[in-house]
C-alpha cells in the first residue's frame, strides 16, 4: 500500500522483471532474478497487470489456456494435464458459464477474474497482481480479494498485490507492506495498526487513521 506515485507498481513490476531494477538485487529461490531464462521465470512468477489486453476478441478459455504456454510444446498444443489445469482454474474462479464468451463481452469484474484465472493456470508459486480491484464496485472487490485469499491459503501460493483498499486489505491480507516517502513497514495488519504505522501512509493534512475502526477519517 502507499499513496499514488510512491512506487507500488514500480516495485511490483520490478519483482516480476517486467522492468529492470533501478538499484539492488532481487533473488528468487536463492538465485538472482536476472539469471533466470524467460521461460524458466514464466514457471515461477505469474502476473496480472493493469495494462489492457491487446485483443479482446479472445474467448475466456482461450485466454486462460495461454497461461499454459510455459508448459506447452513448440506450437502450443495442450496436453491432458494442461486441460485439467485449465478446467480446475475455471471452476475455482467460477468462470464456467463465461468460458466461451469473448473478453469484450465481459464486465470489468468478470474480465479481472478471467485475467487472474489465466495467471493461476500458469501454476506458479508466486503471483503478482497490480491493482486487481480498481474500477470494481465494493462487492466485486471483496469477491476478487476473497478468492485470492482462498487460493493463497488452499494452494500455498504467495500472492502479492498492490491496492488502495485499506479496509479490505486489513481484513483479508496475511501481511502488508506500507510504503511511505521515508519509511516502509512490513508485518501483519494488526501489528501495523498497533504500531501506528498507518498514520504515515498519507500526508496528515486531510485524513487521519482511526485505529478503532481500521479506516481513515476526514479531518
Amino acid at each position: 500500500m502507499g499513496v499514488n506515485g510512491i512506487g507500488k507498481s514500480t516495485l511490483l513490476r520490478t519483482l516480476g522483471r517486467i522492468q529492470p531494477e533501478l538499484k539492488g538485487k532481487i533473488t528468487l529461490d536463492e538465485k538472482p532474478l536476472d539469471e533466470y531464462a524467460v521461460k524458466q521465470l514464466s514457471r515461477k512468477i505469474g502476473v496480472v497487470l493493469t495494462e489492457p489486453l491487446s485483443t479482446r476478441n479472445i474467448t475466456v478459455s482461450e485466454l486462460i489456456a495461454l497461461g499454459r504456454q510455459p508448459y506447452t510444446n513448440w506450437i502450443g498444443s495442450l496436453s491432458t494435464t494442461d486441460r485439467e489445469h485449465i478446467k480446475e482454474v475455471i471452476m475455482l474462479m467460477g468462470l464456467d458459464s463465461l468460458k466461451d464468451k469473448k473478453c469484450f463481452e465481459l464486465s470489468d469484474g468478470q474480465l479481472q477474474k478471467a485475467l487472474i484465472a489465466r495467471a493461476l493456470a500458469q501454476d506458479t508459486d508466486l503471483l503478482l497482481l497490480d491493482e486487481p480491484t480498481t474500477h470494481l464496485d465494493l462487492y466485486h472487490k471483496v469477491q476478487i480479494l476473497k478468492t485470492l485469499q482462498q487460493v493463497a491459503h488452499k494452494t500455498r501460493k504467495i500472492i502479492i498485490f498492490t491496492t488502495h483498499e485499506l479496509d479490505l486489505a486489513i481484513q483479508l491480507c496475511d501481511r502488508m507492506l506500507i510504503i511511505g516517502p521515508n519509511s516502509q513497514y512490513f508485518g501483519e495488519p494488526c501489528e501495523l495498526i498497533a504500531q501506528k504505522n498507518f498514520d504515515t501512509l498519507f500526508p496528515s493534512d486531510l485524513v487521519r487513521f482511526d485505529a478503532s475502526t481500521g479506516t481513515f477519517k476526514i479531518q
Binding site: E51, S54, T55, N57, S61, E62, Q69, D82, R83, D100
Partner: protein, 343 residues
C-alpha cells in the same frame, strides 16, 4: 488453444473454393480455350490446337501458381504484422518493404536515364528488375531490423517503418521528376503489379523463399498467440520477445519482399484477407488463422487475377488496382454489417 474446436468444415470449403478458382483462373484468358480442352491439357493430354498447350503450360499455369503464392504470402505477412503491431490497419508493407522495392525498381528503371547509360539499357530486363527490387526491399528490411534492436517499443517501430515508406516514396518522386517519359512509363507498369511473366525457374525460386517464410511463421505461432495479450504478458508466459520479433519481421520480409520483387506491389490483399478470414474462423488462434489466411489469400488473388485478365479480351488490367477495387468494398460491407472490426 482451448477448447480445440475443429474448423474442418471451414477448411474444406476453402480447399474446394481454391480448386474451383484455380480451375476458373486457368480456363479463362484472352484466348478462348474450351473448358474440356483445358482440363485434358492439365491432366497431361493434348489439345485440339497445339498452341493451346503452350498457352496453358507456359503462361496460364505459372501465372495461376504465382497468384496462389503471392496471395498466400501477402496475406500471411499481413496477419503477422497485424498481430505483431496489434493494429488492425497494419499490412505487409508497414515496414516499408514495398516502398523499398519501389525504390529499387525506380533506381534501376529511371536511374538508367538519369545517369545517361545507353549501354545499360539491356539491364532493364525482368531479371534485373527483380534483383533491384529485392535488393531495395531487403535493404529497407535490414535497416528496420537494425532499428528494431535499438527500440524496445513495437509501436515506435511501426512509425519508423511508415517514415521509411515516406522517405522512399519521396525519393521515387524526385527520380521520376528527372526521368524521361518512356522510363516513367516502364516504372508505372511495374507498379501496376502483375502475376504473369514468371518463368518456371523464377517460380521455383519464389516458391522456395515463400516456403521459408511460411516455415518461419509456423515456428512463430506460439509467440504470435502470446503476443495477443501484449508484450509484457507474452514475456511473463515465457516468450523471448526480441527473438520472436526478429523471426516475425524476417518472415514478413521474405514473404512480402519476394512477392513484391517478382510481381510488383500488390496492394490491399495483405490488409484485407486477415480480416475476411476472421469473419469465417471466429478465433484468434494462429494455429487456425495461419493456414486459413494462406488459403483465403490464394483464392482471393486467383479470382482478382481472373478478373484482371478480362476473359476473352486482349486487355490486362493492373492487378494492383483490381485487388483494391474488389477488396475494399468487401471490407467496408463487412464492417457495415458487423459494425465492428474484429481484432
Amino acid at each position: 488453444m482451448y477448447p480445440s474446436k475443429t474448423y474442418i468444415t471451414g477448411f474444406l470449403y476453402l480447399g474446394l473454393l481454391l480448386v474451383l478458382s484455380l480451375g476458373l483462373n486457368i480456363s479463362l484468358g484472352s484466348v478462348n480455350i474450351p473448358f474440356g480442352e483445358t482440363m485434358s491439357v492439365i491432366l497431361g493430354g493434348t489439345a485440339a490446337e497445339s498452341s493451346w498447350e503452350y498457352i496453358i503450360w507456359e503462361y496460364r499455369i505459372p501465372k495461376a501458381l504465382t497468384a496462389i503464392l503471392a496471395g498466400a504470402s501477402l496475406s500471411l505477412s499481413g496477419l503477422l504484422m497485424q498481430t505483431l503491431f496489434r493494429n488492425p490497419l497494419a499490412g505487409p508493407f508497414v515496414l516499408g518493404i514495398s516502398s523499398g522495392a519501389s525504390l529499387g525498381a525506380a533506381m534501376l528503371i529511371m536511374g538508367v536515364s538519369l545517369f545517361g547509360g545507353v549501354a545499360i539499357l539491356g539491364f532493364t530486363q525482368d531479371i534485373s528488375l527483380i534483383v533491384a527490387s529485392s535488393l531495395g526491399s531487403f535493404l529497407v528490411l535490414l535497416v528496420v531490423v537494425v532499428v528494431a534492436t535499438r527500440i524496445k517499443d513495437t509501436m515506435a517501430l511501426l512509425i519508423i517503418g511508415l517514415m521509411f515508406g515516406s522517405i522512399t516514396a519521396a525519393l521515387v518522386s524526385i527520380l521520376s521528376y528527372f526521368t524521361e517519359a518512356e522510363q516513367l512509363r516502364q516504372y508505372i507498369y511495374w507498379s501496376f503489379g502483375s502475376v504473369g511473366n514468371l518463368s518456371w525457374s523464377q517460380l521455383l525460386l519464389l516458391s522456395l523463399v515463400v516456403l521459408i517464410g511460411i516455415l518461419l511463421s509456423i515456428l512463430s505461432i506460439k509467440s504470435l498467440n502470446a503476443l495477443l495479450l501484449g508484450e509484457n504478458y507474452a514475456r511473463s508466459i515465457g516468450i523471448a520477445i526480441r527473438k520472436s520479433r526478429y523471426l516475425i519481421i524476417v518472415a514478413t520480409g521474405l514473404l512480402a519482399g519476394s512477392v513484391t520483387a517478382f510481381a510488383g506491389p500488390i496492394a490491399f490483399v495483405g490488409l484485407a484477407v486477415p480480416h475476411l478470414t476472421r469473419q469465417i474462423f471466429n478465433t484468434t488462434d494462429h494455429k487456425v488463422l495461419v493456414p486459413a489466411v494462406l488459403l483465403y489469400g490464394a483464392i482471393l488473388l486467383l479470382l482478382c487475377d481472373t478478373l484482371a485478365q478480362m476473359p476473352s479480351s486482349s486487355y490486362v488490367l493492373p492487378i494492383n488496382a483490381i485487388t483494391s477495387v474488389i477488396g475494399a468494398p468487401i471490407v467496408i460491407w463487412l464492417l457495415l454489417r458487423k459494425k465492428k472490426m474484429i481484432f
